[in-house]
Amino acid sequence: MDCLKYHAQFTAYLDGDLQPEERKAMESHLKECLLCYRKWHSLQKMQAVLSRLPDLDPPEHLSGLVMARLRERQFRQSFWPVAITPRWLPLGVGVAALLSVFLIIWQLVPSPLPVPAPADQKRMITRTGPSEQSVATVKTTERNLGSTGPVMVLKVKDFSRVNQQLEAMLRAFSQSMAQERESIRPVRSSSARLIDVQVPGQQFQDLIRELHKMGHLDPGQLDSQEFSSPRQTKAISIRIIVVSNGKDTEVLRQVHTAPNQE
């Protein structure tokens, strides 16, 4: 029992940290107990070995390397407000990867905006309008048209009158209205016009209603997906093709084969 008590004091004895009475008791115990003496002596020798472990000379170039690293760091910081060190690289790569995944998911989630169908999946919605003189055709194709938004094809009887009405109405809505596209001259010369118009997102539905009032759109089309637009969208681009009734097949063929010159 006593031996265990003395073992616990070996470190303090070794370091001269015992009280005088404790030290005397330890010394007399070590004289009497050979087992404790050997254990303590072994510990004493071990400490002697540790304190005499050979000291290594640091490499001569050590301070030069450190100063070079500090200069390099300062040089880098003169270009970058935050030091870009290898330690930050994994974090940067991680953020970039997360951003990529987010963008991919963003692309995959169906957008509430009218999304043009792929070129080989033309979808035509043709309805007979309330008046005899107009038929509206909405196409969701971009091929050769270079438009990012929905395309409306308005087939009218009185081409010149409708054009004036339409232009006046579109001017009221549009943020910027492009001129006729000179690039599609054959279309224009054969009683057709192509108008690119950009309207604020929140006014898109109003524009559709106006077109309907003018008799260019069937009321049933108002519920169509092609005409739904999120109100928060800043602006939406629409391409309107006005063609005379009866010439629509020829005109549409020309529109689709005309080169896209944005």
Binding site: S42, M46, V49, R52, D55, V66
Partner: protein, 207 residues
């Protein structure tokens, strides 16, 4: 000889010189930092060498420690000695490096590279000279030093650092308490456990 002789209780003149150099460093004087580094690199390099048991790793770690010290010197308020503050950085960096190297089995590989343990008898340990060794005794001490280093490498990080700081580098209990942010009682008990662990390891190797 041992690094303990290098870590004399810093005289007030040395402390004052450190203080002046630190002040100049904080104003962006790189030459002052270079001088500070030359004053302390030997101690830090030997500490890192004993912690890692590899000269290459010690060199890398010492560089990292001084770079970190330069980056943090503006935050050094001079409440403790510069060497104490520098050792705190060294201890943190060494802990991180040991974790990193342990994950890559560095210490196990080092052991296998060292080959079969060089066997000496426990009588050799008893016969270790108390004064300066003769050439023959020095050979034995050098081999024994290799055994001690291998045992140090096997100890847990906390035991390793306290043994090196106290028994190899000769810091006082109070300095250890400041460096390790531990109270004196904890320092003493931790040191005692570390010494017993090293003694057991050496006894197993020597018998």
């Amino acid at each position: 000889m041992g690094t303990g002789s290098l870590v004399q209780k810093s005289s007030s003149a040395q402390r004052e010189e450190d203080r002046v150099l630190v002040h100049r460093c904080r104003s962006g004087d790189k030459e002052a930092f270079a001088r500070l580094m030359r004053r302390h690199e030997r101690q830090i390099y030997n500490f890192t060498y004993r912690m890692l048991g590899s000269e290459e790793e010690a060199e890398d770690l010492t560089q990292d420690i001084f770079v970190a010290a330069y980056r943090g010197i503006k935050g050094f308020r001079g409440e403790a000695k510069f060497s104490t503050w520098l050792y705190r950085i060294a201890l943190n960096q060494a802990r991180n490096r040991i974790k990193y190297l342990s994950r890559r089995n560095f210490f196990a590989k080092q052991k296998s590279r060292a080959g079969p343990a060089w066997k000496i008898s426990s009588e050799n340990l008893e016969a270790l000279p108390d004064s300066a060794p003769t050439p023959e005794q020095w050979t034995m001490t050098r081999d024994l030093a290799a055994q001690v280093q291998q045992c140090l490498n096997q100890l847990p990080h906390a035991a390793r650092q306290i043994l090196i700081l106290r028994d190899v580098q000769g810091f006082s209990y109070e300095e250890l308490s400041q460096m390790l942010s531990l109270n004196l009682g904890t320092v003493k008990s931790r040191l005692h456990r570390a010494r017993i662990a090293l003694q057991e390891c050496l006894t197993n190797r020597l018998e």
